[in-house]
């Protein structure tokens, strides 16, 4: 079987990320230093090759950008100066739906951003509660994961690490405006 490269997807990613993915010559340095390859379906250099070939569905359905820890090791080491972590951001932003194994990641981001939108700063207790109710609470109760989490919460509370009341910043209207311009 032969694959005819579809350049339109590549160009789209390059434009949106501002990174020249076509420069990648598959040296594998990014993947060698990546700490999370064990949890990815495709290591970073393979994913970049797939972008070059225009395998859109596969790329946007991949687990790799979601479990990428944004550690910036690949970006630091790429001999062609490709900001791979930035490309991962672009792919996450485009993918909309997270595949199995990453479902909770966008839920976390949503809870985190909602907290900022509401008060200007992240209120950890409120953010954690919102996140918990977005995820499958029943599965956590069944797997007893919830006991561990509650215990950790209590340990933090006991040590004064949990603030009981949120703080709202002065100038919250600026933050509202920023969120209105999302996607700009």
């Amino acid at each position: 079987m032969s694959i005819a490269p579809q350049t339109s997807f590549l160009y789209h990613i390059e434009e949106k990320s501002g990174e020249k993915v076509s420069l990648c010559y598959q040296c594998n340095k990014c993947s060698s230093g990546c700490p999370v390859t064990f949890a990815m379906d495709f290591p970073p250099h393979v994913l970049l090759r797939m972008v070059q070939l225009g395998l859109k569905e596969k790329v946007l359905g991949s687990l790799t950008p979601w479990v990428c820890a944004s550690c910036e090791t690949c970006t630091t080491r790429c001999p062609n100066g490709i900001d791979i972590a930035r490309v991962m951001d672009t792919l996450r932003q485009m993918a909309r739906v997270a595949p199995a194994g990453a479902e909770d990641i966008p839920k976390f981001h949503e809870a985190f951003l909602n907290s900022i939108k509401a008060r200007g700063r992240v209120y950890e207790v409120g953010m954690l509660l919102e996140y918990m109710f977005k995820t499958d609470v029943w599965a956590k109760i069944k797997s007893r994961e919830i006991i561990k989490e509650t215990k950790l919460g209590w340990e933090m509370f006991r040590r004064g690490k949990m603030r009981l009341f949120p703080h709202t910043i002065r100038g919250l209207e600026d933050i509202k405006k920023i969120f209105e311009h999302k996607g700009k």
Partner: protein
Amino acid sequence: MKVSYYPGCSLLGTAREYDESNRAVCGALGIELEELEGWNCCGATSAHSTDDYLALALPARNLVIADGKGLDLIVPCSACFLRLKASEKKLLEMPLADFPYRGSLKVKHLLNFLAEDENIQKIQERVKKPLAGLKVACYYGCLIVRPPKVTGATEPEDPKEMDRLMAALGAEVIEWSFKTECCGGSLVLARPDIATKLVERILKMAKEAGAEALVSCCPMCQSNLETCQGESSHRTPVFYFTELLGLALGLSGVKGWLKRHLIDPRQPLREKGLI
């Protein structure tokens, strides 16, 4: 000396002891930290994973506030530090009407700031209780050094600022190769299995190199390194670097800070008669 201070959200909650020790140490060194008025969250990984404008604008608002003061902006959290630096770089390359940032200041990570020659000298002069015999692994993590074209790190694979500080306090700084390996902090809630694996690797390397404690310069890393160790009985304590500074300078708040840790770090200090 007066500087602007951007604590970041974690320091109001889970990393309270970091904030307390930062303020106390800077106070003792005659550095006035002026908290940035009305500062907002930098957006962290959630913003840059979701939307480019949010990732640029959330830190930008803080930069503009700080710009008005003209004092260097000191940031104790590595994630906030990188987000502020990345936003600053973009604003200077491509000015945005909504955020008129002139760049009248330098954004600095607290660790790098305190490791500047002038400050290290001040610290050395004030050490009351040298941390003799305390074997520490300096853990820098990712975002204080990477990517270097944004952070300005000169030795991103082998930073030395914390090593220099700890050595100035008289601690025994061990050589190890995981100084800047990722701990998976951004995944700790949604994929704790990944974060746990990364933390285990880091701790294993630190122990093999002979460290009895880790030292951290980031609230995300510190809390992740503690929580991912679970309930095991051989847990490795993780200090904030300013806590050890406070201890060596003989500051009174130290006991209160250390009590807040999920993994009690006092044992190795007691053994050496440091507390």
